[in-house]
Amino acid sequence: MSRKILIVAASEFATAVKSKAFVIGVVMLPIFMGGSLLMEKLSRDHADVSDRRFAVVDGTPDGAALAALEAAAALRDRTATADPERREPRYVPVRVDVAEDASTEARGLRLSADVKEGRLFAFVVVEPGGPGAPPRIAYHTDTPTYRDLPEWIERTLADAWRAAVVRELGLAPGLVARLDARPRVVQLGLLSRGADGAAAVAEAHDPIRTYLVPMVTLFLLFMSTMSAAPQLLNAVLEEKQLRISEFLVSAVTAFDLMAGKLLGCVAVAALLTALYMGGAVAVAAHFEMLDRLPWELLPWFFAFLVAATLVYGSIFISIGAACSDLKDAQSMMSPAMLLVMLPVLVAGAVLKEPNGSFATSLSMFPLFSPVLMPLRLAAPPGPPWWQPPLALAATAAVTALFVWAAGRIFRVGVLAQGKGASFRDMLRWIRAK
């Protein structure tokens, strides 16, 4: 490798890591994640646990609905809300005497005023549902986003309704509980024979290994690549706008200059990944989960990280060379960003069935492989052994093609001033002698 490529790479790396954007990016991610955890804790600690007083206009025979709500609220007081750690409000049903009001409308208006002025949190009107039908429940509130209370009321009255039906039919009292009981699936891994030839016990499904690790892998790859690669566009544009490019290409070939920039970009992405990964390992160590990290994926991860940075970096560097200002570049960025974002957008579908035909075909497509193959590698059971090397080889070939084409575009574009180039111009530059 030419010494000048390394000089350019070192300069690009130093410029990038000393930039405010890099420092903010590195510092902001843990601050953002830590801040989210802190905010969640603060919101839990400072949750509004004042009583939720709600009026019950009970039209059911014998006030059955109110009775059921009072009984359930009393039980809840003894269990859930009695625990100071739970920090949940008490639900307090308040009986409404229907004789107090001249009409249904007047009662509704009075209770609405009580809710508005804070004397009540909500009011509920329960009416018989007709022969053989459950009661109708109307829940009135001006805090519709608080869903816990209406869901609790619905569950409580549904239980009461089932109990009433069982009683009416003369069935055994424990039947409701038996009918409600549901079989549970315990998700386990496959069995295999141990060294002694005996079948080992299948391990229980690990949600961290199954969902968290693949998603963190995807996130790390995307964050590192996207933090580093678009900076190439800015760097090339800056050199064009400040008229530095001509001096540079007089000292170093356009291809070497671009190769140096890409290498610097890979180094920045690797540093970012190392920092983020270090943080993730520290967190895993704190929670004694180091043995659940897929260390065997590290070489694959870094190989695809390099490929992703080179492929996407080539795209951004070409756009930077083809454009004369940021406005031009932004219009060309949209299709490029779509290309970069697409694998992330389909990550959920890939994770759902990592070895399905959709996931397999997309992850073998060289422009998507750098993001989707590491995701599939991290998601159990992992792809067939031959797919990752094949995807990496195809990506390497396409990377070489992209770097070559970007070099051709860069060679012409870096000295072009004035009107920005179109995609057609870029194709012409690639073919130019």
Binding site: E246, S250, T253
Partner: protein, 337 residues
């Protein structure tokens, strides 16, 4: 004979078939040699069959109107652009890439990284020219000191004035101790003080044996500083020689006068067909015919303070070639090259 044919004539002595290594025909005495170089962009021929020899140690002035092909020629010399036809030999090397590190270059469109400290810019640019950090540091420190920028070495470029930035750009071009220095419009935008400093710096480099090729629109600078002057017009070489040779080609056909009557009286006294250029206190008359007849005509009309039969200035030659009504001019007296 057409002046534009100069390059073609010179090219006849060049062996185009030989590739690789130094060419004996071009000669070890030349820092730079171009033979039959042509470059087109689309249908436009920017440089047309251009040949040129720049001797080692010379200060070579490169003049020509805007859009005549100067920057394209320089970019081909620097291997930024490849010629469609022809050969370029730089410091004895046909593949200019090999010689690139020995050539300092100050482009016409030049800039610096605004957020970088001056020292780091110079280090980066110098090392890209193949020098070690220690070599670049030693050389750039000396130049910063010489050009009065030592105190600004650790400041970011954005803190510099335009003149200071231009001097830093110059240092970036020379920090790698080039053997050949190519300066595209080095004086443009400089105030007289900075211009003087840069001129002294260039002459210092010349004393050290560096070959200097610089383009300029300032004919007075070219006249004063250059050992040889080369003019390109519409992509073709139209002048190449020492100032004396160029002036000799155009003869003593200029009469410079200063009179009490001014330009109107001079125009009235000049014969039909003569061209009078008015410079305010002085007028230059070309095509005046018999100088004695003109002197008598002037004396009859006004008091004559100055009457000088002179060579045309470079400015005058330039305007004659590249004036608004210029067509490819005919050489008055053959080839000065």
């Amino acid at each position: 004979m057409v002046l534009g044919a100069v390059g073609a004539d010179a090219g006849r002595h060049f062996s185009r078939g030989a590739r690789g290594g130094a060419c004996a025909t071009m000669g070890a005495m030349n820092a730079l040699a171009l033979r039959g170089v042509t470059k087109s962009f689309g249908g436009h021929v920017a440089v047309d069959d251009l040949s040129l020899d720049v001797p080692r140690g010379a200060v070579y002035g490169f003049i020509g109107p805007n859009g005549s092909g100067k920057s394209t020629t320089i970019r081909m010399i620097m291997n930024i652009l490849l010629p469609d036809r022809g050969e370029i030999e730089v410091l004895g090397e046909r593949g200019t890439r090999a010689a690139r590190d020995r050539v300092g270059y100050l482009p016409e469109e030049r800039g610096l990284y605004k957020k970088m400290p001056v020292r780091r810019v110079l280090d980066y640019f110098g090392r890209l020219k193949g020098r070690t950090r220690a070599e670049v540091t030693a050389e750039s420190e000396a130049w910063l000191e010489r050009l009065g920028l030592a105190a600004w070495a650790d400041k970011k470029v954005e803190a510099l004035s335009k003149g200071m930035a231009q001097k830093v750009q110059f240092i970036a071009a020379v920090a790698a101790k080039p053997e050949l220095l190519i300066l595209d419009e080095p004086f443009s935008g400089l105030d007289p003080v900075n211009m003087e400093a840069l001129k002294d710096a260039i002459l210092e480099l010349r004393r050290r044996g560096v070959t200097i090729l610089f383009s300029t629109h300032d004919m007075a600078v070219a006249e004063r500083m250059c050992d040889r002057i080369f003019m390109i017009f519409r992509g073709r070489k139209v002048l190449d020689g020492t100032l004396a040779e160029i002036q000799a080609r155009y003869g003593e056909d200029v009469i410079r006068v200063a009179t009490d009557g001014g330009a109107d009286v001079v125009r009235a006294a000049a014969p039909a067909g003569a061209v009078v250029n008015d410079y305010g206190r002085v007028q230059e008359i070309r095509g005046a015919g018999d100088p004695q007849a003109l002197l008598r005509a002037l004396a009859e009309r006004t008091a004559v303070r100055r009457f000088e039969i002179a060579h045309p200035s470079l400015h005058d030659v330039f305007v004659r070639i590249a004036g608004a009504d210029a067509v490819m001019p005919a050489a008055p007296r053959g080839d000065a090259a």
